[in-house]
């Protein structure tokens, strides 16, 4: 089985983003970028499946500007075999992205696509679901465990009310939640080795996909700020404030 892992390059999770003065978006110049944390979890899970003998090859794909190659190299340094970079100005909307991924899945005869559940910049939480719909493959969204069996995969999903266990027939789509695993660090030798691993370059046009946006961002604003209030020094003072000042209890 081949596993495809789509990875997104995003602003590092520890950076506090700032909205641009012209309200066109957030400041990205000279800001630390990283692999989207959920994608990193997806890469780790693919590696574990390979180490258990359930997969032969792991392909990392990223769609976006030239710098996405760095993000692909992150995945290769963790241990994936090769990369595909689909070059375009920005990360496309999830629907267009899912169409691109579908073409790659079909070209490569992939048996499992492991995505992150959510990109932490746009907070879409859509691409895996859309890819499953376009391919007609079963979907395991928000998964916290995978077990490979004869028919495909038994997975556990994190849902609002607890956990859910499903059996998916292979091939399948899955989106990784936080508890699926803890990603490894790439070792220095592996980082060096990753530089030699092949990365194929494609464009959406090569794949015949129109990535014209359907949703236009009109403006981006800071949310209203919350002010720090006061410090209390004991339980009775707090209860008094909550009862008589805030009137919430």
């Amino acid at each position: 089985m081949k596993i495809l892992v789509p990875v997104k390059r995003v602003i590092d999770a520890n950076i506090r983003v700032r909205v641009k003065d012209d309200h066109s978006g957030v400041e990205t110049a000279n800001i630390k970028m990283a692999i989207n944390p959920f994608c990193e979890i997806a890469v780790e899970e693919a590696l574990r499946l390979k180490e258990k003998g359930s997969a032969e090859e792991i392909i990392i794909v990223s769609v976006g500007p030239a710098k996405c190659i760095e993000t692909i190299r992150n995945g290769l340094a963790m241990g994936a075999n090769r990369g595909i970079h689909v070059l375009c100005d920005n990360s496309p909307e999830p629907l267009a992205l899912a169409k691109i991924l579908k073409m790659i899945v079909e070209r490569e005869s992939v048996g499992l696509v492991l995505l992150g559940k959510q990109s932490i910049d746009d907070d879409n939480n859509q691409t895996g679901q859309m890819l499953a719909a376009l391919l007609g493959w079963p979907l395991g969204s928000y998964i916290s465990s995978i077990a490979v069996n004869d028919k495909g995969f038994e997975i556990v999903r994190e849902i609002d009310s607890g956990l859910e266990r499903l059996q998916l027939t292979a091939p399948a789509i899955m989106t990784a939640d936080l508890r699926l695993n803890e990603p490894r660090y790439a070792s220095l030798p592996n980082i060096m080795q990753a530089k030699k691993k092949p990365i194929e370059e494609l464009t959406p046009i090569d794949l015949g996909i129109d990535i014209t946006p359907r949703v236009q961002t009109i403006e981006v604003h800071e949310p209203p700020a919350r002010e720090a209030g006061i410090m209390v020094s004991g339980a009775s003072e707090l209860v008094d404030k909550l009862k008589n000042e805030a009137k919430v209890i």
Binding site: R16, V17, V26, P94, L95, A96, K117, I120, D121, D122, D123, N124, N125, T127, Q129, M130, A132, A133, L134, W137, P138, L139, S141, S144, E158, I159, D160, S161, G162, L163, E164, R165, Q167, L168, T169, A172, D177, L178, R179, R214, V215, Q216, I218, E219, V220, H221, E222, P223, A228, G229, I230, M231, A235, S236, L238, V239, K241, L242, A246, V248
Partner: protein
Amino acid sequence: MRVLVIAECEKGLLVPATLNTITAAQQIGSEIDVLIAGHDCSVLVDSLSKVAGLAKVLCCEHPDFENHITENLAVLIQSISGNYSHVMAAATTFGKALIPYAGALCDVQAISDISEVVDADTFVRPIYAGNALATVKSSDSLKMITVRATSFELTITEGGNAKVENVQSTGANENLQFIEQMLSLSERPELTSAKVVISGGRGMKDGENFKMLESLADKMGGAVGASRAAVDAGFVPNDYQVGQTGKVVAPDLYIAVGISGAIQHLAGMKDSKVIVAINTDEDAPIFQVSDYGWNEDLFTAIPDLTNALES
């Protein structure tokens, strides 16, 4: 504008976020239908038909929908989507999985987690863990949307007289089988609709100590939540997680206990009316968003607070 709202039910009860979603739908269109698909949903059909201002309640009662499988419901939605300008569901794990899936079937770019309706094509949604709010405009003729429940009031559940219509199942996807759900059972109010939420973080040290928060919550009629760190450490189950990638809550009172206040946590609770933080680190970022900060060891503070509420 004719809007379809997908109702969510669980254990035979309507998930309250459906009622917030109907409010958002009412800000878009004048004709609102609700679809409820399930195995045993006739009780709910009755109560839904009384929700003020609904035109129709569409009911698909069939075992195919017993376990709310995304694939099955999305195909059903696609089959009736031609009648609508908008299809909406709450941004719960149910809605977040369903709407993009149905969107792709209909060739629609879905819009996630809206917090405001500007007009029928234009919506506001938080991005970057709520550190920015984007106003976005869709050019798709059909809009498929998930709704941040805490940003909209509950709709009025009385006085309506919607027509009930049955719809046929479009079948079940053979490529997946439901095995089981392992639900966290709690007598306490549901986290996202509770008036008081008390959340514990890494500072709680272990799961046993959450009992202190539970008894405090019980005194206040509240729910118990947690930070990611507390869930990852196995103190409490995953469905307790509040934050960017967990649940979004906005109670009247949120008490953060031993939680530092990372942006991903704030994303899930900073719209609470009143925030209290209890933390030993006076520089913890949580104090910057708290109405009342208490720089105290939680193992002293929580018993003290519980006692103070008694007297």
